[in-house]
Subunit: 291 residues, 4 copies
């Protein structure tokens, strides 16, 4: 276990979510992947001084691909994904065929999806969280402690705020994506191994229930739940509370303003809980504060 001081910068050599086991497009996911041994994480990282009731502020500095090309992988796995029957939405239909796609990922030229289509390189951290107070959880789950949220806003230039539940916080991260659409529809974004660099600050005595995020443009709260409307409710309620606690809004005013100006981002619609981010432009918070 790595131990750090608040303010330290950490560079993590992350694996892809399949731990590199899918090497070619002819590998079958069902042959090489071994549930629940998926989504390997870097950590835990013990942050000195972190205690229950505090909050980590993780500044995401950079994400760069590492390893031999084609470094990006996506695939169809049986009974996993947003448009198929799954272990939860348990059906009798036959599964889709398995399929693997390997793609070159370059920070400058982008993700080479095909001869015709290239996607911009927009990397983010798929999984980042702190330890729950009394559980040892799978890295596949997103929840109040963060985890496998697969939310593209957790990207360089953002700071994510994670509540501390256990001594030292026990931060973990991994599962970086080179590109992803809203919902991570088939369950596998462009998964790729990276060097991910973060700076970890500690904020004493700031506590809340669900992860929060901030970048130059917005503040965002992240809810995870099923059905999807519950994730949306969690995210928006947390945002109402944040606006009320720190930005001078009365709760029902915040509720009504978000009706006109709130934004929702669907991170994943495939994981054990769906994750959504609710946000509002900082310009409105500044206007309110300036009043």
């Amino acid at each position: 276990m790595l131990t750090i001081d608040p303010g330290d910068v950490v560079s993590a050599e992350t694996h892809d979510a399949m731990e590199g086991r899918i090497r070619t497009e002819s590998d079958l996911p069902s042959d090489v992947l071994n549930f629940p041994f998926l989504n390997p994480q870097n950590g835990p990282i013990f942050v000195r001084g972190a205690e229950k009731g505090d909050c980590l502020a993780v500044h995401i500095k950079s994400i760069v691909p590492r390893g031999p090309q084609p470094v990006g992988t996506t695939c169809l796995m049986r009974e996993f994904g947003g448009l198929v029957g799954t272990g939860d939405t348990a059906l009798l239909n036959a599964p889709l065929p398995e399929r693997v796609k390997k793609v070159e990922v370059d920070p400058i030229t982008g993700v080479r999806w095909s001869d015709r289509i290239t996607l911009p390189y927009q990397p983010f951290i798929g999984t980042i969280g702190t330890s729950p107070e009394i559980e040892a959880i799978s890295s596949l789950h997103p929840d109040y402690y963060g985890g496998n949220m697969d939310l593209p806003d957790v990207a360089p230039g953002s700071v994510i705020y994670l509540p501390v539940h256990a001594p030292g916080a026990l931060l973990y991260l991994g599962d970086c994506h080179a590109a992803q659409g809203d919902g991570e529809l088939c369950g596998f974004a462009i998964e790729h191994p990276t060097v991910t660099t973060v700076q970890v600050d500690l904020i004493k005595d700031w506590s809340f229930r669900w992860p929060r995020l901030e970048n130059e443009r917005v503040i965002m709260t992240i809810g995870s739940g099923r059905p999807m409307e519950d994730a949306a409710r969690i995210a928006y309620r947390e945002l109402v509370r944040w606006m009320a606690a720190d930005y001078g809004f009365e709760e029902l005013d915040a509720y009504m303003l978000l009706t006109q100006a709130g934004r929702l981002r669907v991170g994943n619609m495939v994981d054990p809980k769906y994750s959504l981010g609710a946000s509002i432009d900082k310009s409105m918070l500044l206007a309110q504060a300036a009043g």
Copy 2:
């Protein structure tokens, strides 16, 4: 009933969703609103030549406010909204207090939310649809025929494609919003009366299950359902099908590409069904076609 020819331009004087009954901030919604007599619509409009199996292409030309200021209204209504118990999510908690907010709406200077905060004027049509084949439905419902979707993309510059189920299509529209956040959280966007102008084209023999939309930047499919993940599934499956039928993608390729590049917009999370739009940038469709 207005009868038009394909290609005709129609200007509709729409009411706000409360039919103008909320005149001041001291009106109580429970006093002046009378369910189910809400959300008045303009129509039906009979389009000559429209038959089952065809599709209307409704080009949204312009939306401008009409009537005396303050022309915009939002409010909290009992047991309605995304962060309260409702008639469907039926709970024992006491309802929130009722509240009304009237705001000035100007196409140039925007929506004057408060002394401190002004929102841009971004009008769209909250409710637009065609008749089902054998039902006469409430204007409060969104479904396969369109209806009360409350999706901000249904805005000037877009064309919405609505399948025809009954002779003449029987188009209706209303419920225009001056501004709205994702999800229309409390249930009432900035409701306002308008003059809304659309051009109605008819496309023979083009049929599909759920509404579609196109603007300069994207193609979008719109799904409505509960729980919210079902609305997302509908929207994304329809988009897969559209990409396969008209843009040269194999179905599973479209599924995998949307995983990396699809976008979801939450229209409403308050109506009888939730409405989500799934979209993809036309640049990718053009690249695919050019290959």
Copy 3:
């Protein structure tokens, strides 16, 4: 339209839900069924004196099969059912094969499922409702007005209470089942044509939101919604309210007692809304009243 007086007895010759179009086990549902022209109903029946704010008390007297054997039909239809992807839970998996099963139904000897298995004849009315105030709805929907609830408790010996929304109530019924498990899993119970006899009483000035039912043993409230937990919430909240209004319970006491003694019955998990009945034994209501 049949017009009756309160207290009249009506015998209806109901069709099966497929209107008798599936005649042999080699008929393909996709060939002979034509959505939305499904689930034919008997009615509307105009009840003299019935007005908004009143309630019909429909006493179910008897249900007997009619027509040539094998009179019972069940089948697998594409994209319909509880364990398959559907038009709402929209997936990319291939549909199940279609399949039809015709069975003999005898009120005494039961439903002859196979050479080995015979099910008891436990008939009930799958669809029964009154008109909404301003809509003309499909008979496939269950909602606050009753409709396609597919709840086995709507059986001979029960009285179902249906709120009146329109002059004359406009009662309809049909879709009788000879046997059905909880949830009507594949979407088709043992559908069969019947002679169904009911007595229709009118209760003036008794109004509530959702259908209620009573038999010798229990009182029951019926909620329809999606996701399924919303149907359960509706049903239980209505039961709390009924116990409070008519049986001397304080609301929170009723809530706590139902925690220990309430029963839930899943009617359907396949229709546009799922329908659940929440009930409590009358013995407890009598004990409470006797106190």
Copy 4:
């Protein structure tokens, strides 16, 4: 950690779910309960020879109350329960008042709810499970490993089959209820401390995904998930598979038969996942086998 051999009988002195901290009706749950330190369990119990791929058959022999009267407790806790906003269904409504009810529980005379109402003593094990393969989970969760299912069928006379994921199985149990309605509506059944006696058998090389149960009358499969329809789907799919694997049914025949004869029991509609049991009468399985 207790280590036993297959076939051993174990008697556990269980606590109530609040670990006995609610002593009088004037104790406030929010004062004395300390989330996540709730729902204390007995165990883990290491079963010699149990390995991944095996199954425990836990025969429930008896449950008797222990401790001073009134030994039964139920209560209303903030943001927990089936008819209130919760941490997942996150709303802005004010919570219900807290309330505690203590009741006498006697195996013969029953549960003395009030001067007027007495409920039969129908005890069962609310929480019983085995260890996941790589997680240490909270006892509040129900999932594929069993856990906090709150299903009244887990009662004396039943055997519950729990798949083994980790060496020794690591069985745990607790949270016994003296009476409970379907859904455990307010979140707290009649919680009570007990002496619970079980016999633990080991079945080698019998593995499946979700817990199963058997008693004199039925076989049952138990699914846990959100939304509630997913729990129902899991339970019914597992039952289809069990009938196909062990009772001579073709899968689609089992699907169609369960449509006519399957039963659903809602265990809880309040825990992190809802738990439902799907069952079929053994008489039909015997008839099928006798054919």
